[in-house]
């Protein structure tokens, strides 16, 4: 599972039997109380029911493999929609794709041009009855003097029936063997070169801080790049063995996650040659399973030709067991813009997992819907080795959704 926190929005993507919507009320309250976003459902932010008013909300998922094992309201789309409708005003729910096959669900609220409903004057307010649910207005576009984020597009690839050989790369036993082999090889190389390095398990230039908790960083900071084989660095850093038990490099989830990222090709989806500040945080679960988040702080050209640093991300989650094999890839890195085209990214990701089936959803703000991206969308219509089953376009007020579904030939 992953969470991405931007100044103006939060993305939460959770796996398995997690109860994502149970956290929604707390999320809205945190946004109000801790970040100061406006509240319209109570007279005061001190009220325990106070919740920030969202500008817009998206909720989506693929159909579940085992809905009966999910906690409510996640057992059915109708229950999820009911929960969301009881929380927000003005939402719309959609099912995209074959009802009797793999399909995808979307719940969306749109910004309004006026406050909805009109605020009740304070003296006319009556206390709300305690309730588990109360509806929160969404929209309120007039409350913000801004314009929708430019280049807002989200690509999601959901893959099932993964190729068994490729799925092996996401089992701890396999990864530990790869890590051990690399460690041995590089230790030998280090000995040959009279270097203290234990090898480039990480291959990353991120600085890792070890901590007893996520909040309390302690003085165990070490530089993963010092694990590398950069000849300029030889002998100029503290030996890794003094900072991290070498044995843990073949068992620790984050160290092994980095091995998997390199070994499966994920690290090359957004290569540092094109995205020099890209960083990946990956974790290998025991006995199997894999998650990774990537941040790509690349410059982004705005509509007025100014350049700002974008908050781009990608995230990957893999469940490799044969009876429920699944992998997802999601990114908001815009295609093109001197980086990789959307079609290249899709081909690369699908090549990592070689799924039997996969869907591609591209959700794109119309402001960013220029000629270049339109051409890119058409180019990924066909993919070697796969037959396209569905292509469905939804034209929303300010977004366009393109859903495609493919099967292996």
């Amino acid at each position: 599972s992953s969470m991405f926190v931007f100044p103006h929005k939060l993305i939460l993507k959770t796996c398995g039997t997690t109860t994502l919507l149970w956290g929604l009320r707390s999320l809205l309250r945190i946004a109000a109380v801790e970040a100061g976003f406006p509240v319209h459902n109570t007279p005061s932010v001190d009220d325990e029911r106070a919740a920030a008013t969202p500008y817009r909300v998206f909720y989506s998922r693929k159909n579940f493999l085992y809905p009966e094992k999910q906690p409510t309201p996640h057992r059915s789309w109708l229950h999820e929609v009911k929960f969301l409708d009881e929380t927000f005003e003005g939402g719309s729910a959609y099912m995209v794709g074959k009802m009797n096959g793999d399909h995808w669900y979307l719940y969306i609220t749109s910004p309004e041009t006026t406050l909805t409903p009109p605020r009740t004057p304070d003296e006319e307010r009556t206390p709300m009855k305690p309730s588990r649910h109360f509806r929160i207005p969404t929209g309120l576009a007039s409350a913000f003097n801004g314009v929708p984020e430019s280049s807002d597009e989200t690509l999601e690839i959901l893959m099932t029936d993964l190729d068994p050989e490729n799925a092996k790369k996401f089992y701890l036993e396999h990864v530990s063997a790869v890590a051990s082999a690399r460690l041995s090889s590089q230790a030998q190389e280090a000995r040959d070169n009279s270097v203290h390095s234990l090898g480039d398990l990480a291959g990353s230039t991120a600085t890792i801080r070890t901590a007893s908790t996520a909040e309390s960083v302690v003085d165990e900071t070490f530089d993963v790049s010092s694990l590398g084989s950069d000849s300029d660095n030889h002998g100029s850093y503290t030996p890794v063995s003094e900072q991290l038990d070498p044995a843990s490099l073949t068992t620790e989830g984050h160290a092994l996650g980095t091995v998997v990222s390199d070994n499966c090709g994920l690290s090359d989806v957004y290569p540092t040659s094109k995205y020099p500040d890209a960083k990946i945080d990956a974790y290998m679960f025991s006995p199997c399973g894999f998650s990774a988040n990537g941040i790509i702080p690349a410059p982004q050209k705005q509509e007025n030709d100014t350049v700002t640093k974008a908050g781009h991300y990608f995230t990957v989650h893999v469940t490799p067991e044969p009876h429920c094999s699944y992998a997802s890839f999601e990114t908001n890195v815009p295609g093109g813009q001197n980086g990789r085209e959307t079609s290249e990214v899709i081909e690369h990701v699908v090549g990592i997992f070689k799924p039997g089936h996969f869907s591609v959803t591209l959700f794109e703000a119309k402001a960013a819907n220029d000629v270049a991206t339109g051409a890119a969308r058409k180019r990924f219509d066909s993919l070697a080795g796969y037959r396209r089953i569905d292509r469905i376009v939804h034209d929303f007020d300010d977004y366009e959704l393109v859903f495609r579904y493919y099967e292996r030939e």
Partner: protein, 89 residues
């Protein structure tokens, strides 16, 4: 030996959680995805909002909310524009 730009993301690992995980009982791949926007862009936060908006919220404030969702924080990759939390489950 390490040089980086000002915006190099920084990673913090929560070893207490990361050391205890076991995915043996996993059976369901497909995820749920929730995206909640509170403003049209990072540059157009409403008045009264803290300068960094949601990013100003400390990591431990999110923990009870994530407990409700049944997720634990494994690690956090922080950058100037977005913070990425890698979660259990």
């Amino acid at each position: 030996p390490f040089s980086s730009s000002e915006d190099t993301p920084q990673l913090t690992i929560n070893h207490d959680v990361a050391a205890e995980l076991d995915s043996s009982s996993a059976f369901e791949g497909p995820e749920k995805l929730l995206e909640v926007w509170f403003a049209p862009s990072a540059e157009s936060l409403p008045s009264g909002v803290k300068p960094d908006g949601l990013k100003s919220v400390a990591a431990d404030i999110w923990v009870p909310m994530l407990d409700e969702v049944h997720c634990k924080v494994l690690s956090v990759l922080k950058s100037e524009r977005v913070d990425a939390y890698l979660l259990s489950e």
